[in-house]
């Protein structure tokens, strides 16, 4: 007997979108000339128009941030900065449904994830760093650590509001002011956040939001008036930023790509491991820099694990992001869909075996069925390059040493997963994996108190926790 789910769509009536949004500079929305549409990737319906900021507008935002830093936010006692951040945390909680629905509309991620993961973490992040604002002298960076000044922050489209929180909360707690550029395909929750800043009576110029694409980001990062650059995105752009700040005083933190190994040993409980594999690669459509995109499974259990994995994948529900039953939503953009297709085609052409469960995809919008490749070697592009989509490459190993060797055989080093019942093996493996976050018998867990960031070409600096303050202090 097959039970069909009844549709359970979340209402979008809670979101009151304006047809057009300006830039948020010095506490006000400012109209601009260069208007671009942002679409719902699940339907290709136009949601609103936003401005792509040019050099003059970026300059205006940086100057507003400088003035706010010198006149208001810098001199303000930490306890008062804390109160503004607490206010923001509360407003995010109060408006969380509205923000979650808007995030799913603009990004394509399932409402279950924006509602249960993104938004609670956003509020928690502001709440956590709010408490640091008046305790910086106890943070282990000396008796009276100073802020840097104006922070230029450029964030990606995969967790738009969460990445905003990761950037803005520690920057403001440490006493900096910010100019933040959201991704061009997901600007809307950042603009709603700007309204929250107004609602919180945050002093003008402390937070400035400039929407736009790569040129806007470049103008912001290269602006001589910024003291700090924080970027989350591709390794390619991260390297360009590292080059562009060479010889300047700008402090930089980069959180970049990944190609994480999720390692399953023969003593792991198979059902739990399969849940972890699915969560590792299909959470957020695989648009996750720390996604477990390379499954390393011990040879002796490979067949059994793959069989269970395929059975589980056949139960994944792909479709309307606003439906509360949906597991996998829309791919964020046509451009990203093309990249996923290109790499997947390369995987098949290079000789790996491709498999997807039977899965009906909507006609409009950007969609990609959950996919696994077996028979993958370390030389295959699907094992080396970040796909940033719901595509898993499966490799096998025989010994723990071989697992470590294969896991570390990548220029990236953001995250890794280990599945085994043996405690000493977890610690032995964790010591040897060159990755900033190691999830043992779990995957894709995040918390504001827990530092996040990569080794090697996954970037440098940490976000979250006490460590996350360091990137925003002159230490």
């Amino acid at each position: 007997m097959i039970f069909e789910y009844a549709p359970a769509p979340e209402s979008r009536a809670i979101v009151d979108l304006r047809p057009s949004y300006g830039l948020f500079i010095d506490g006000e929305f400012v109209a601009g000339e260069d208007l671009h549409k942002t679409v719902n990737p699940a339907t290709e319906e136009v949601l609103a128009e936003v401005v792509w900021a040019g050099g003059a507008e970026v300059d205006r935002a940086v100057r507003a941030a400088r003035t706010a830093y010198e006149k208001v936010w810098g001199p303000m006692p930490g306890r008062d900065r804390a109160k503004y951040l607490f206010r923001i945390a509360r407003l995010v909680q109060e408006r969380s449904r509205e923000l979650a629905v808007l995030e799913s509309l603009d990004n394509g991620k399932p409402i279950r994830e924006s509602r249960d993961v993104d938004l609670p973490l956003v509020a928690a992040h502001f709440f956590y760093y709010a408490g640091w604002a008046d305790k910086l002298s106890h943070a282990g960076f000396g008796p009276d650590p100073k802020p840097l000044g104006v922070a230029a922050q450029v964030i990606p489209w995969n967790f738009p509001l969460l990445m905003l929180a990761w950037k803005i909360a520690p920057a403001l707690a440490a006493g900096n002011t910010v100019v933040l550029k959201p991704a061009e395909t997901t600007p809307l929750t950042a603009l709603l956040f700007a309204e929250i800043c107004q609602q919180a009576d945050l002093p003008a110029g402390v937070v400035n939001i400039v929407t736009g694409a790569g040129d806007t980001g470049r103008a912001l990062v290269e602006h001589p008036g910024v003291d700090k650059v924080a970027f989350t995105g591709s390794t390619e752009v991260g390297k360009a930023i590292a080059r562009s700040v060479a010889g300047t005083r700008k402090k930089v933190t980069l959180e970049l790509g990944g190609k994480a190994a999720n390692i399953v040993f023969d003593d792991a409980p198979v059902d739990q491991a399969v849940e972890g594999i699915v969560n590792g690669i299909f959470f957020n459509q695989g648009h996750v820099c720390c996604a477990g995109s390379r499954l390393l499974v011990q040879e002796s259990v490979a067949e059994q694990v793959l069989e269970s994995l395929k059975r589980r994948m056949a139960l994944l529900r792909v479709g309307d992001p606003l439906d509360k039953n949906t597991d996998i939503g829309a791919i964020n953009s046509a451009e990203q869909l093309a990249r996923i297709r290109e790499l997947s085609d390369a995987g098949a052409a290079e000789g790996a075996q491709r498999w997807s469960p039977p899965c009906e995809l909507p006609e409009r919008g950007f969609w990609f069925a959950p996919t696994i490749f077996t028979g993958v070697t370390q030389a295959h592009r699907v094992a080396r390059e970040e796909i940033f989509g719901p595509v898993l490459s499966v490799l096998t190993f025989r010994t723990p040493a071989e697992a470590v060797e294969k896991a570390n055989n990548t220029p990236y080093g953001l995250s890794a997963g280990i599945w085994t019942d043996k405690g000493s093996r977890i610690l032995w493996m964790a010591d040897r994996l060159r990755a900033g976050v190691v999830w043992a018998n779990t995957f894709n867990k995040f918390d504001p108190t827990s530092p996040f960031g990569g080794y090697k070409e996954s970037g440098y600096g940490r976000e979250g926790g006490r460590h996350g303050l360091e990137g925003y202090l002159d230490v």
Partner: protein, 274 residues
């Protein structure tokens, strides 16, 4: 009775615990001595030696690394006259010895001060710990010749990194003599490698090297060269310590930034349950 003819010293490179000449067979005259003029190939060889030493050194216990750094201080104390004879002021030698002692003590404390449990909102064990980034290229400052050198090497290696040091082209003798101290301090070969010669020859190779994890530009005085090196370092996203200001006080408390910049933080999660 005729006066004894002194035995003069040949100053060579220090790579993988050995003292080879430059593979190029070149030397240059400086501080009244012929000193090896390292080539790009020497720089690459030094990186190979440094990489080979990472596993053992990073894997050594913090206690063991601390003991070895303290042993360096002991050996340096025994050779203080040798450095004074090279023209290093006596108080600078003292400060350099004390700096080894200061860093030796950090080996098993930094992970406690800069790591720890994180109170995540869920049933998880969550621990952050610092780890060495790997191979670090270091451009040593010209002055103070010994204290400056020790102040850039010790913070890099105490946490488990290995280093390739480009010694000051104008003050290389302190560096080569320090290598003799290191070679007799139970420091495993390859943990510290020292190149003498022209910075413009070896350092761009190190900055662009894909198997180097970080670069310390402290001793680069020329701002344009420093910017160029930082651009090269971006190719594999090396961690970068930018040049020290000209008026840097080497006798002041060094702080921890030199150590922490060359560290990675690893965070491990595990569920709690029965």
């Amino acid at each position: 009775m005729s006066e004894r003819v002194a035995v003069r010293k040949t100053y060579k490179l220090f790579i993988g615990g050995k003292f080879p000449r430059s593979e190029s067979g070149r030397s240059y005259l400086v501080q009244d001595s012929n000193v090896s003029l390292a080539s790009r190939k020497d720089a690459r060889d030094a990186v190979v030696a440094a990489r080979a030493a990472v596993k053992g050194w990073a894997g050594a216990t913090a206690y063991n690394r601390g003991q070895i750094l303290y042993r360096v201080a002991e050996m340096l104390e025994g050779r203080r006259e040798q450095f004074v004879a090279l023209g290093v002021p006596a108080d600078e030698v003292d400060a350099a010895i004390d700096r080894w002692v200061w860093y030796a003590g950090w080996s098993d404390k930094l992970p406690q001060v800069y790591g720890g449990a994180n109170p995540v909102a869920g049933p998880y064990f969550n621990l952050s710990a610092p780890e060495p980034t790997g191979v670090v290229a270091v451009v040593a400052p010209a002055s103070p010749a010994l204290l400056g050198l020790v102040s850039v090497i010790a913070p890099a290696i105490v946490t488990g990194n290995t280093v390739v040091v480009a010694a000051s082209p104008t003050q290389p003798l302190a560096a080569v003599t320090l290598a003799e101290v290191l070679a007799t301090s139970d420091l495993p070969g390859g943990v510290v490698n020292i190149l003498t010669g022209a910075l413009t020859e070896t350092v761009p190779t190190l900055a662009a090297h894909m198997d180097v994890n970080a670069i310390d530009l402290t001793g680069v005085g020329d701002a344009a060269l420093a910017a160029d090196l930082e651009v090269r370092a971006a190719e594999n996203l090396k961690r970068v310590l930018r040049p020290a200001p000209a008026d840097h006080d080497w006798h002041a408390d060094p702080g921890v930034t030199r150590m922490t910049t060359l560290l990675e933080t690893k965070t491990v999660w595990h569920p709690k349950g029965v």
